[in-house]
Symmetry: C2
Subunit: 537 residues, 2 copies
């Protein structure tokens, strides 16, 4: 057999190609700074060289605490080029949570944007690892306690190690999951490569596209768009935080053609003052996920010349393993019918295996739009497993029956139905996950924090619908006999341990409803929450 075939599939290949093909085209816009594709690749390669200079070995973990910055894009390529594994950190997490993840991942270096330098210095010191601070302005970061990112790059030689194994570890994306402590979802090169191609193809991106970074890059590696946008030879437009005024400025001035965001963010954009100046001249393709877009939102977006595609996935599936694949003939349906169709989670994307909805025995439920089963996924864009957590990996695996016998499928925890046309729709989300502003909150994790308070006997946390955030966590607490506590005291107690967005917005006190076997009836609590309890502020 000839040896001229079988290059490993690795998502850094897209930057290699675009650096050669689009050398002098703008790759990255980050505030006042613009980098061409040649510069982007050179910076990422010098980052790889610098990391090796800091002692990073192949397989080592390099963590990133960054906004949607050029440094974060460079990390998505430079870390694999150093042979290392990227660990993107959610910048909304508490110091304690960040320390847990850094420790669990065994990261040896932390790269942080200057905006997060203080917390980064604290956690890096606590865990005892090297800190590199990237200052978006390009100024020196004197006064911070870490190495300066730009200085390291200036002093480093470019490096781009070959990917030795496409099924090797590329990144660890920590997720709250359903069971308390964050779990490290293992991504491999092959999966990210294919998922990036799928995102580029489904979004219809090309060299003329401009992608606005509204979606955090620390979420599922920005759903693999750091590589997808690069594969298309399009322009990354960075955005440090979601600010509708800034977003509208970029939509109009940078000719944005694509962006991704949760429906809550889309609502902010669509209802901003700046939206009143009318539709954009260019068609904008918008990817959304985390919750179905509402008919009102879809109609408003359409008026602004923005076409919304609904995607579905989890951290475990490189982001959107499923897509509400739109059919051209649906364009002719009335708006409310289109909204109904678009609220469905859909089908596997072009590189994914078929999405299944399975009954308890592992068989497929009938495609009747009524029989509920668990959405189960498999394929190249499903994780390798949870890092150093075989028990959790095993627990997430369902063994199929019939033609699927012997094969493991990833259980999403989300319950849904299959419509007669084969499209999947979620009927009941995983019971222990609350999605607030696009962020996952593990109710178990919040309960654990509450239960650690000396006055709390037991607690149950459930989601309550919320106009702005989609959902917010609401706590039901049983106090110990004779104990007294205020809402503020419990909230402060949780805030010490967890990220602010995880703190319950409402507290109810009293007995928890339980089954005859003593299990808390969350369903009952959720039913109460659905009726609302006034927390719409």
């Amino acid at each position: 057999m000839a040896s001229f075939t079988f290059s490993p599939l690795t998502p850094t290949a897209f930057l290699t190609r675009s650096a050669a093909v689009f050398a002098d085209r703008v790759a990255v816009v980050d505030g006042e700074r613009r980098f061409t594709y040649a510069e982007f690749a050179d910076r990422a390669q010098r980052l790889a060289g610098a990391l090796v200079g800091l002692g990073v070995q192949p397989g080592d973990r390099v963590a990133a605490l960054c906004a949607n910055s050029s440094a974060m894009l460079e990390l998505h390529n430079g870390v694999p080029w150093a042979g290392a594994v990227l660990v993107p950190l959610n910048s909304r997490l508490s110091g304690e949570e960040l320390e847990y993840i850094l420790g669990h991942a065994g990261a040896s270096v932390l790269v942080a944007d200057a905006a997060f330098a203080d917390v980064a210095a604290k956690v890096a010191a606590s865990v005892g690892i090297r800190l590199v601070v990237a200052n978006g302005s390009g100024d020196s970061t004197d006064g911070n306690s870490g190495d300066d990112y730009e200085q390291l790059l200036d002093g480093a030689s470019p490096l781009a190690r070959d990917c030795p194994d496409e099924t090797g570890l590329l990144a660890l994306n920590y997720t709250s999951g359903t069971t308390g402590r964050p779990k490290g979802v293992m991504y491999h090169h092959r999966g990210a490569y294919l998922q990036a191609l799928a995102m580029a193809l489904h979004s219809g991106m090309g060299p003329g596209s401009h992608y606005l970074w509204t979606l955090p890059m620390f979420h599922c590696d920005g759903w693999c768009y750091p590589w997808a946008v690069t594969a298309a030879g399009a322009t990354h437009v960075c955005l440090p935080k979601v600010d509708p005024t800034v977003i509208w400025g970029l939509l109009r001035d940078e000719g944005i053609t694509h962006y991704s965001a949760a429906p809550t963010v889309l609502n902010m954009i669509a209802s901003a003052k700046e939206a009143e100046s009318g539709p954009l001249p260019q068609k904008v393709q918008v990817q959304t996920g985390g919750a179905p877009p509402t008919p009102t939102l879809l109609s408003r977006m359409s008026d602004l010349n923005m076409n919304v595609t609904h995607l579905y996935g989890l951290t475990e599936t490189y982001g959107p393993a499923m897509i509400n694949q739109w059919r051209p003939e649906w364009d002719d349906l009335p708006g409310d019918q289109q909204a109904d169709l678009k609220s469905r989670q859909g089908v596997g994307n072009v590189v994914a295996d078929r999405a299944r909805v399975v009954a308890d025995d592992g068989s497929d439920v009938p495609a009747d739009g009524q029989t509920i089963g668990e959405i189960s996924l498999r394929g190249n864009d499903v994780m390798l497993g949870y890092y150093e957590d075989q028990a959790a990996t095993d627990a997430a695996t369902v063994t199929g029956t019939g033609e699927q016998a012997g094969l493991g499928w990833f259980r999403t925890g989300d319950l849904g139905v299959v419509h007669p046309d084969g499209y999947v729709e979620i009927r009941d989300r995983s019971k222990d996950i609350i999605i607030s502003g696009g962020e996952n909150i593990s109710s178990v994790e919040v309960e654990r924090a509450l239960d650690a308070h000396p006055s709390v006997l037991e607690s149950a946390v459930v989601a309550e619908p919320h106009e702005k955030w989609g959902e917010v966590p609401v706590a039901h607490v049983t106090l110990r006999e004779g104990a007294e506590v205020t809402d503020e005291e419990l909230a402060a107690h949780v805030r010490e341990r967890l990220a602010p967005f995880k703190v319950p917005k409402v507290f109810h006190y009293g007995e928890l409803p339980k089954t005859s076997t003593g299990k808390v009836q969350k369903k009952e609590l959720r039913a109460r929450a659905q009726q609302g309890s006034g927390s719409s502020s």
Copy 2:
């Protein structure tokens, strides 16, 4: 490690997905017949079942002598689903050539469209293999000597064997190559899967696209578009032969958005009477290859609302491994400058490795637009090698130096330069290949046929530019002492052995110019041909 990942990459996965997602959408238009994606998949699966019923075992070769028909699309999926290897046959070849290929490939079944039933029956009988005849009209093929395709499908159970190994053999595409006898280029599942994704992405295809089958599917598996169009969920519009009137009818009536063809075919389309009715309402993306499109052609196509992308590749590279990747900023240049830029062969496509131009020592030539080297390719969309021809495979391999040391690269035989922007342009095509009407002709093969004539002492065949066909073969012949022969006699002699398009259009008689070591100086003969010798009819 969990078992829910690493599905093999096989291009039949796209039909599996589209059959589920787009079940009731039109997948194939073939004359009066229309098949939905559910029907297309079902027919391909029943074809797989039927082939197994005929005794086809995994790894067996199944040959196809078909026009661009629904049967040929079904073969591209049904043969792999039977676990077998597809051998697409060029319907323009002579019976003798077809017999050679069937014998070399060791095919056990030949599937032919009814239009080719006679020659198919002859060669199948001669080689001693089973014949299946597909009648596009759906009528029985009683009277032909083979099994009836539709009857076989009706009687078969659907079958879709799993791809056991993505690097396993998917297809054998026979090419004239440079050295006489056709060679069987080995395609694997992984390469075709990735190439199909690349074609879909670069062409910007989606579920609303309509792809017109002007390009023969027997050429490099239709450059992998049988799978690419299916991946996009677009509609295949079959075309049994290139007829400008029919093409214009489909362009206007079927809302064609994409097609691929050699510049000679584009010229026929652009200069047809029907083109005079003016531009199409829809934008049509056209892929071309085999020769650079001329400025006149590009300008004419643009007037018709057709955007031409220039691609480059060989049978050995699943078709277009390279693309003239267009940059949006070039749209603003004057037309002649755009044509200059578009005449270049370009860069590796999104799934290809970097295209190199190498000097004799295997090192890269400088990107100066002047230094000539050989275009060399590597990656997932380069063949496994030539079937049962290790010597030819070895001969096509160049070993790199420097950072590429130890790696084998496929030598295209085409000489080119690298421009300062990294784009490759061919300066001198492989000396022994003549491209006439998009078909490759091996000059060596034609010489061998000529030399077999009793009056011929030796011969040399070279390309001469031709207005309609791009190039035509021209023969330079030295007769044996005292022998006499006419042009007509030699042409008839060649026509007995080779396909009609390979027969030299002009014959010159006399001594052949030779080097001091006795090698024929084809360069000298080509120079004479460049000056033209009147064969423009």
